[in-house]
């Protein structure tokens, strides 16, 4: 794809390259800033994304001066609890890599075990290869990658999918980038039992949990994109809601926030329909009141019999 420029030897002292111009050229800063703005928290993740962007930029500069620029291995693993933004970051990663010219198309193909592993002998290889072909020129995102490997069943076809994956990860590095994602503890066990896979992944990125302030920010951002807003008392209710929800079982970070807001919208709609004797203003349609949030089971203190989502 990108060939070494034959001209310009490593010794050429006069050769210069303007990194800033190169960065402006690729517009990578826009994507990075977007990442900073759109995603709350996630400091280690953003730092790693910046590092990778810097590395690719330097590689480009080196190539311009005719220095040896082997394409670095960019396969990644994203580990973190549910709802910490693994898929969102993967999507943005595809765009960043595209801007920097590392992948040609910059699309994301998100798959799970079912898309890779077949039902019977001889079914797995074509299935996996099909997915890999579709992902070429972009990023292959394998969610909950540990399901690929089932140690309890030695005839499981997952191993076959892993082997094909490994081969392509090694030999066709500039055709696609593979991102494996999943919960931290199970991913660790997965990598321990597949050392070949672990050693081919250069970047292990951990997604930390959000704290209450970050979750509040996330919730407000979500409301904004849905064109809703909180009344002042509603904001107070949200601030009380978040720590309570965090203590409950099955807490899934940003996903729990989204679910909470979806249910608040439901209650708001119900409230508005109940008061239909008078016309509604634009403001009323947009505002979520404290009562919409406080009706949640989280406030009732009945956490014992709460289902997966209170």
């Amino acid at each position: 794809m990108n060939e070494l420029a034959p001209a310009g030897s490593p010794g050429a002292a006069s050769a210069e390259v303007d990194l800033r111009a190169l960065a402006a050229d690729t517009q990578v800063h826009e994507v990075l800033e977007e990442l900073d703005e759109a995603l709350v928290g996630l400091k280690p993740v953003k730092a790693r994304v910046r590092e990778i962007a810097a590395l690719l930029l330097v590689e480009r500069a080196r190539r311009q001066l005719g220095l040896l620029a082997g394409s670095p291995s960019l396969h990644m693993s994203f580990t973190g609890n549910p709802g910490t933004g693994k898929t969102t970051v993967a999507l943005r990663m595809a765009r960043i890599l595209h801007r920097l010219g590392y992948v040609r198309k910059g699309h994301l193909v998100a798959v799970t075990r079912d898309d890779l592993v077949g039902q019977y002998i001889g079914h797995t290889a074509p299935k996996t290869k099909d997915v890999l072909k579709k992902a070429m020129g972009g990023v292959l995102f394998i969610d909950e990658a540990y399901y690929l490997y089932r140690p309890e069943n030695e005839r499981d076809y997952g191993q076959e999918a892993i082997e094909i994956l490994l081969q392509v990860m090694e030999n066709q590095r500039d055709d696609l980038v593979v991102i494996l994602a999943g919960y931290a503890d199970r991913m660790d066990a997965f990598f321990r039992s597949n050392p070949g896979l672990s050693s081919r992944i250069a970047h292990h990125v951990e997604f930390p949990d959000y704290d209450a302030a970050e979750l509040e920010q996330i919730a407000l951002k979500m409301l904004q994109t849905m064109q809703y807003r909180l009344s002042p008392s509603g904001l107070e209710a949200l601030r009380e809601y978040i720590p309570r929800r965090m203590r409950q079982p099955h807490f899934a970070n940003a996903r729990s926030m989204r679910n909470a807001l979806d249910r608040a919208r439901l209650r708001q709609a119900n409230r508005l329909v109940a008061s239909r004797e008078r016309p509604l203003t634009r403001d009323e349609l947009m505002t979520i009141e404290a009562q919409d949030l406080r009706a949640s089971r989280v406030f009732a203190g009945t956490a014992e019999r709460a289902g997966p989502e209170a």
């Binding site: 198309k105 699309h107 890999l132 072909k133 579709k134 070429m136 020129g137 972009g138």
Partner: protein
């Protein structure tokens, strides 16, 4: 005799880089690419064997090239062509079709003349290669089967 079928067939054989560029163009147009192979070079032979299913939903040509190379390896002495199908209403047909691999030695065709009523002559051609049964044509010296 070099057979000339499909697009670019009067040009020298395309290099892999040129094939990739053509594939990239076809994908950019939103055409679905399929790969076919045969060992019967007759110009009226329009039913070539499919190499796997047509490759739908691809974004990048690298995936197609992988299949082309796999097909070449399996048929080192046969013909391999790439078709690009346009599903747009009004077209719904193959928009591009070109040979990407051919036998190293193409013996050409015999012209047979048949005398018909009133001393009319009817002509037909038959490939020298197609004399052997399918799968045993274009045997190369090292015993590969095309």
């Amino acid at each position: 005799m070099r057979i000339t079928q499909g697009t670019f067939s009067f040009l020298p054989d395309l290099t892999d880089a040129q094939i990739l560029a053509q594939l990239r163009y076809a994908l950019a147009q939103g055409w679905a690419i399929s790969i076919e192979t045969t060992d019967d070079p007759h110009p009226r032979n329009c039913y070539w064997d499919m190499w796997g299913n047509p490759l739908f939903d691809l974004r990048d040509a690298a995936g197609v090239m992988q299949e082309v190379n796999a097909c070449r390896r399996a048929h080192p002495n046969g013909y391999v062509r790439v078709n690009a199908f346009d599903s747009t209403r009004g077209f719904e047909t193959t928009r591009l079709s070109f040979i990407v691999s051919r036998p190293s030695d193409e013996p050409g065709f015999a012209l047979t003349r048949t005398e018909d009523a009133g001393r009319r002559i009817r002509y037909t051609i038959a490939s020298y290669a197609a004399g052997a049964p399918e799968g045993r044509r274009y045997r190369s010296r090292d015993g590969d089967v095309g």
